[in-house]
Structure formats: structure tokens, C-alpha cells
Homo-oligomer: 499 residues x 2
């Protein structure tokens, strides 16, 4: 970053750097809590993390920042500095728009709700959940109202904007509406076609050490740098740590070796984004990745676009047999069938790429209406089950743990995040279409285990820009056009209905 | 801790709690740096740690603390609260006695000296080391001068006091003088006696996983709680993390399985001290362990007093054979000879318990004279080698890496720490004598793998007091008398010269 005589901007950068370093500590401690920490330390760890997080909030809401931001705005900044100022203001706005007392209360009520939910979902205890959830919804609405006032947008818009700057509900509604039109028909066609397809299930158990070695081999082939990151195990896979010290986690199932591998590839997509961020911007907000749908698109690009392609599976198959042993289910054709199996199910995180959008659409409909006050929390189960029947032809009934109690998001008070999962799939389809157009021999390269062409494209067109552009600009710069949901339809048609 | 209407004291406790939580983060990050961190993250980690450490210094030197300490002193406190106030003042005094500019400069020069030393010791490059070391000594003298003024003691006294509150050079000189009188004679007698003793060396390699399992089994038997701590590997063994989340590390050598096990047992002694601290005092200075010699005595109690005893080795031998396989060197009698082998050598950390005191005495003589200005840095090698000849009958010559360049302490600007290693051995001998007196069947219990009587005694008489008493009071409360160095002599005579 070029430095010119811009004292306010420089002071802002100095403060950003301090915040970033505190983030580093918080990121590693969170990772440690999920992977390494002995159980009896959890209380002390929660205290230490709360202390650091409250300190970060204190720094981020320092009244002096408002003055600094205004002063820096009047300074002569180059475009990159101006983008950094814009991102710094975004962080500041998020931190200050909600009164501290409300933010604290929301956070406490959310913690209680999430903690009780962990048990309630197993008992399908919707009434019990509702007791904590209703006051939480009320607080989230108020919080969203504060953010909406600050941004001068609607309540649900404000929550969307937290995860995806500039994303508005009108746009989400249009994009998801596109998918809603063709999805049920497409699922039916694919199911019909797969009905007669033979598909053998792998016969386990598969040693966890062998699965870990396989995961690491695939990560290496995809370009994960083990000098700047690690792979460990946690109960939910995530990509944590910090941008320069990436702590990726996965989980292994003794009887389903594809699940852990798929999670690893997904998280590797997130990790490569962090590894591809420009070092020179690292401690500044403009140097952060675009969270939300763009980040998800990096994971889905690897997991779905690349990872479920026959060319990739043909490369993977011998490696997989080498680590897990030979058996009929690991024949290349059967692996393609296994990875590409489409089957409506209750659980979002277990869904294939064809039925997954249905899970997002139903959640979006409900959470939007809930935040805007069009429905109340009590209305959720009926709406949920009706949408499941309509979109996927199945109904969880009163097994709420397989229905509206399955996700952690709402229990944590997190709304406006779900659309990003589907938008991410759309972005990924658009990136893949672009790469195919530029690289006619893509398939041969992938089958030969040469993934450089994919990874380099992502680095060149997405990663290196960090947060310099908002998502709309970024998609145009990267792919030459605005986000077009039809790429997702074309991708699914080509993969599942063409010969 | 009982709470009474003592507003200044309570505010002090609130601040201590904040400091403690920051310490928690720093402790885990340091452990992570040594065990888990991928190499390319080291720059960002150093930045993050420097940020947290400078924040801690900022908090600890807040001028408001001086007022709070004075106000709390005038409040009506119970004895435990008063001890906590005393310990809080100690922390404050240490943090504020040295002007920040001097402390920063010292820290930078020490970092440079230590960094260069890592290579210089391998090249035996004393002249190169001296270039960085001379200015470091000058800064340490000035720092010690500031501390001495604040404490109203001598310069070396002030450095001793940092590690062992209340310990003075006159006392160290008396205690070490006692050992100096009988040590060379004792070493000669033991060497003479062991001359004809057969001693087989274990024939490796020994798989690291088997060594780790053995280490964990021994830790479990000694009472290490794996629900509140972990065992990992680092290049230098240490007991890190925080009091409620103990991160113990060791290192394994493929060809010397006893080295790793010995390090594990030593660090387990440190760890049990932390595990035995009272939970109710945890976040306050009075709840910390006594660092320095008392802490070392906990490690040496396990490693030497217990771990080298024939009864313990008789318990250990079958467990060791179970993990590492049968071979003649692992016969019980041979293991006793191996563990108890006495042999003068150049390297302190490899020394047996009989020759170890000589290494401490020579370092004490040199560093005391250096800090007091009686000698200069240039004088060290000649003095070092002369003392080695006098005390152990060997001379490293110009192989400084095996002589005065072997330890990290001085290269880091750390003086006044070495005496604690020998005082720790004296304390441990005194605890062991006391336990033997109270438990006539101690040997049978140890041989049966029942270590509860030892561990419970330490918990009851040392651990649970945390920092309530200074070391002089603590030794009287725990053992009924002042520290008496003759217990160490009696212990060595009994173990190595009796039949």
C-alpha cells in the first residue's frame, strides 16, 4: 500500500492493524477450543475469549474513530486506500449502529437459546425452543432495525448486508425465484434418470488415519500450503485460525469415508481463498476476503464444480483406493454414481447439490417474513413442513430436529446468512463456466491431477482482489458479467441430464 | 475469597481478573507457537503476541493502579485479601520500577542477542556473542539498579527477588556455600563406587508413538488430569498454557527413551502444582504458584526424589518393558543403574542429580559478580573453565557451546534464575525427608504404584497455599523448619553411598 502524507488515514491503518492482531489471537483460541482444548478448560476459555472480544468491541467503537474516518475521507487517497477507508467504515458502522446494551442482551439471549437448542433438537422439543427463541427474535428485529436505520434500508436488507455488502432482498428474491421455477421439475427428471442406476455403498470400517492421509494428499494436490496451515479434527468442519495461519478442520466417519473427504475439499476451498489474499494488505479491512456468498463460492467451486466432476473423480479414484483399499464400491464409475447421487432428504448439510437449493429457498422465505414481522416464530413449523412437501415432496412431521430445529443459525440469532449458500453455488457455476470457456482442455488437465488452471484462475480473478470491490463489481471484473443464476441451471442440466 | 465492602480492593481484583484472562490468551498462543503453528505463521504470531504483551504492560502500569493499591491498603482486609494485595503490589512494582524506554530497549537488545546466540553457540563463537552481550549486560545492570532502588536492596538481590520473593544474595551464598564444601568429595566417592558397576545402554530405535504412550501412562499414574491438560511435543520441554488448561510438552529421542520420559516426569511435577492450585483464587495474584525454587522443587520432587528412587524404578520397569519391548538393558537392576549413573559432563541440562549442583554454583558465582560489576563479560570464559576444572575436573577449552555459551538464560538477559535450580533440589530433599518421616511404608506404596501419598502431601502442604505465603514462611509451614541444605547432602549420601 503506497503511503502519502495522510495522517488520519495512517492512524486509521495503525488501529486496524491492532484490531487485526487481536483477531489473530481470537481466531487461534477459537480453533484451539474446537480441536485441542481439554474439556475442563472451557469455562476459563470462555472468560478469556469474552475478555478479548469485549476489548475488540471497545476498540472498534472508540468515538475517536468517527472523527478519524471523517478526517481520512477528506485526505487525498488513492483508489486502494479509498477502498480500505470504505471497508473500515463498514466495520465501524456494524460495531456502532447497535446500542451496546442491546447488542449485549442479544448476545446473552442468543447464547442461552443456542445452548438449550443443542439438547432440544435431539428431543424435537419445539415448544421448549420457542420459549427462548421468541424473545431472541424480538431482539434481532430490534437490532436489525438499528442497522436498517444506519444503512437506510429495510430490516432484512440490513441483515443481508452484514454478510454480503450491498446485497438487497429484492435481488435475493429475484435470484432465488429463478431457481424456484425450475428446481422441482429438474429434481424429478434427475431422480427418474438415476432410478435404474446401480450404486454400491462402501463397506467399512475405514481407519481414521488412512482417511486423514487421504484428506491431506487431496489438500496438497489442490494447493493447500502446509507451511501456512494445518488439518485437524473437530465436531463440525470449519476453516479457522487467521489468514496467514489457516486452521482447517474436518471430521471422519468410520463407515462413510466420502463425507469427511467432501468436507475437507469444501474447507480447502475456503482455505485457498485466505492463502491467496495479498500479503501487503493483510492487516487492513480491504485485505480481508469477501465473506458470505463469494467465500462460499470458493468452497463450492472446489467441492461441487470441481470435486463432483467425473474428471476429478477419475483422478481421485486410484488415490482413494490406494489409501482405503480396493473394493467394488471404489470402482471409478461407482464412485461417480456415489458422489453424484441425488436424493431428497430432511437435512440441509447432508443434501446433494441438486436438492440443496430447496433447503435454502425455504429458509429464506421463513426468515425474511419473520424478520419483517409478517409471521411469528410460532408459525415456523407449519410453513417449514409445507415448503418441504412442495419443494422436495417430503415432510418431517413433528420430528423438528430433522425439520426447523436442525440448523444452529437461527438458534444463535443469525439471520440473513442462508441465501449466501445458494448465491455461492450460483457464483461457483459462473466461475466454472468462465474457466471452461477459457480452457478447452480443462477436463484432461483435471483428470491428470493438474488443478493449477482452476486454482490460478480463482487466485487471479477473486483472491487477489480481497475486499477491494463489492460483490457486484467483483463478479463483473472476474467473469465479465453480472451474476446470472442460469449458469447454475445449465451446470446441473449438463452434469445430471446430459450424456 | 470472602468479599466485604472494600471498593478499592474489589476494583483491584476486577483488574487482576482482566490481566489473568489476557495471560490465558498469551499462554495458549505461546504453547501453540511451540507445538502446532505452521512455520510461515511465525511473523504474524510474533506481531499478535507483541500486541497482547504490550497491552498487558499497559494495563499493569496504569497510574490508577498506584492509587488503588494505596486505597485498598487502607481498607479492612482479611489475611487472604491482604496477601493478595501484597502479591498485586509485587506485580505492579515489577512492572513500574523500570522506565518503559529502558525495558523496551533491554527487551530488543536481548532478543537480538538471543537470536544470534542460537547459531553462535554451535560455532563456539564467543567473540561474536560478546558483541551483543556486552551492551545487554549494561542494560540489565541498569534495569537491576532501578529494581534495586524500588526494593531498597542490592542489584543482584533485586534480580533474585524477581524469581523468588524475599530471597537475598547473602542467603543464596550461605546455601550454595554449604554444597560447595561437600560436593567435590561426594562426587569422587560416588564415582569410585560406581566404577565397577555394570550398566547396559538401551538398544534403539524406539517408536515415538510407544514412547508417547509410556509417557502418558506414567503421567496418569502420577495424577495428571487429561481432562484439564494435554501432552504434546516441542523442541524444548515445558509446562505451559494456563493454570486451568495445562499444556505440557516433552521431546522424544529415538535412541534414548529415558530422556523423554525423564522430561515428562519433570514437567508433570510442574503441572501438578498448577492442577493443585485452589480454584477460588485462580484469577488473582495470590492464586498463582510460587515461581522459582518452590516451583522447581515440585518438578524435582517427581523427577529426582521419586523418579530416581529404586522403588519407583521397580514399579516403572514392567510398564516400560510393556511399551518399549524386552531387552537386557531394561532389566530392573540395570534400569536403576542407568537412571542413577553419575558422570561429570559439560552440559547442565544433561547432568545427573549429583553433579548438577556444580553447574549451578559456577553460574551463580559468575552472574553475581557480573551484575555487581566485579567482573566484565570478557572475563566469563576463563572463570567458567576454571570453575569446571575445580568442581568437576573437566575443561571445555574453547568449545564455548559446551561451556559458557550453552544456556539461553544469559543470552536472553535473564540473571538471578540459576540459583533456583539448586534451591529447588534442596526444597525437594526437605519435602521428601518430611514425607518419609510421616510415612514409614512409603517405599512399599511407591513400588505398588500408589503415589497418592506423595502427591497428596504436596497438594496439602504446598499447592493449596498458592502464593499466600512467601517462600520462607511456606517452607516452615510445609516442613516445620527453615530450608536446610543438609537434607540434600543426606539424600545424596543415602541414595548413592548406602547399601
Amino acid at each position: 500500500m503506497t503511503l502519502s502524507p495522510t495522517p488520519a488515514y495512517l492512524e486509521l491503518c495503525r488501529r486496524n492493524q491492532r484490531h487485526y492482531r487481536l483477531h489473530h489471537a481470537i481466531g487461534i483460541l477459537h480453533w484451539d477450543s474446537a480441536t485441542m482444548m481439554p474439556p475442563r478448560a472451557s469455562g476459563a476459555r470462555a472468560d478469556a475469549l469474552a475478555e478479548l472480544e469485549s476489548l475488540l468491541r471497545e476498540w472498534q467503537t472508540d468515538p475517536a474513530l468517527a472523527t478519524l474516518l471523517a478526517q481520512a475521507d477528506a485526505e487525498s487517497l488513492d483508489p486502494l486506500q479509498r477502498a480500505n477507508l470504505r471497508e473500515s467504515r463498514r466495520v465501524w458502522l456494524r460495531a456502532t449502529a447497535v446500542p451496546p446494551a442491546l447488542a449485549t442482551q442479544r448476545s446473552l439471549v442468543a447464547m442461552r437459546c443456542e445452548h438449550a437448542w443443542r439438547e432440544q433438537r435431539h428431543r424435537h422439543d419445539w415448544p421448549g425452543f420457542l420459549e427462548n427463541f421468541k424473545p431472541l427474535v424480538e431482539l434481532v428485529r430490534r437490532e436489525a432495525g438499528c442497522l436498517a436505520d444506519a444503512l437506510d434500508v429495510g430490516r432484512y436488507d440490513a441483515l443481508l448486508d452484514m454478510h454480503e455488502p450491498g446485497l438487497r432482498d429484492s435481488e435475493v428474491s429475484r435470484l432465488l425465484g429463478h431457481v424456484r421455477n425450475w428446481l422441482p421439475g429438474l429434481i424429478g427428471q434427475i431422480r427418474e434418470r438415476q432410478r435404474s442406476q446401480p450404486c454400491l455403498i462402501p463397506q467399512g470400517p475405514f481407519a481414521l488415519a488412512a482417511q486423514r492421509d487421504l484428506s491431506e494428499a487431496v489438500m496438497r494436490a489442490l494447493g493447500f500450503d502446509f507451511q501456512a496451515g494445518r488439518l485437524d479434527v473437530s465436531s463440525h468442519p470449519f476453516c479457522g485460525g487467521t489468514f496467514e495461519d489457516i486452521r482447517l478442520t474436518t471430521r471422519y466417519s468410520e463407515y462413510d469415508p466420502l463425507a469427511g473427504l467432501t468436507a475437507t475439499i469444501h474447507e480447502t476451498g475456503h482455505a485457498l481463498y485466505h492463502m491467496g489474499l495479498p500479503e501487503s494488505l493483510r492487516e487492513q479491512p480491504v485485505g480481508a476476503p469477501r465473506w458470505g456468498a463469494i467465500h462460499e463460492s470458493q468452497a463450492l467451486m472446489l467441492e461441487k464444480q470441481l470435486g463432483l466432476s467425473p474428471a476429478f473423480i477419475r483422478w481421485l479414484a486410484p488415490l482413494l483406493r490406494q489409501h482405503l483399499g480396493e473394493q467394488p464400491a471404489f470402482a471409478t464409475d461407482n464412485l461417480i454414481h456415489l458422489f453424484q447421487r441425488v436424493e431428497p432428504g430432511f437435512i440441509r448439510v447432508d443434501a446433494d447439490e441438486v436438492t440443496y437449493p430447496a433447503h435454502v429457498i425455504l429458509r429464506y422465505d421463513i426468515e425474511r417474513a419473520l424478520i419483517e414481522g409478517e409471521i411469528e416464530a410460532e408459525d415456523i413449523p407449519v410453513r417449514w413442513n409445507a415448503a418441504m412437501r412442495e419443494l422436495l415432496g417430503i415432510d418431517p412431521g413433528e420430528l423438528y430436529g430433522q425439520g426447523c430445529l436442525q440448523d444452529m443459525h437461527w438458534a444463535c440469532g443469525m439471520f440473513g446468512y442462508f441465501p449466501g449458500y445458494l448465491l455461492g453455488a450460483m457464483y461457483a457455476a459462473q466461475w466454472a463456466a468462465r474457466i471452461r470457456r477459457e480452457q478447452p482442455d480443462l477436463e484432461q488437465q483435471v483428470e491428470a491431477g493438474e488443478f493449477g488452471v482452476v486454482i490460478d484462475w480463482l487466485r487471479q480473478h477473486i483472491h487477489r482482489h480481497a475486499s477491494r470491490y463489492d460483490s457486484n463489481e467483483l463478479v463483473r471484473i472476474a467473469s465479465g458479467e453480472a451474476l446470472d443464476p442460469d449458469y447454475l441451471r445449465q451446470h446441473l442440466m449438463a452434469r445430471y441430464l446430459d450424456d
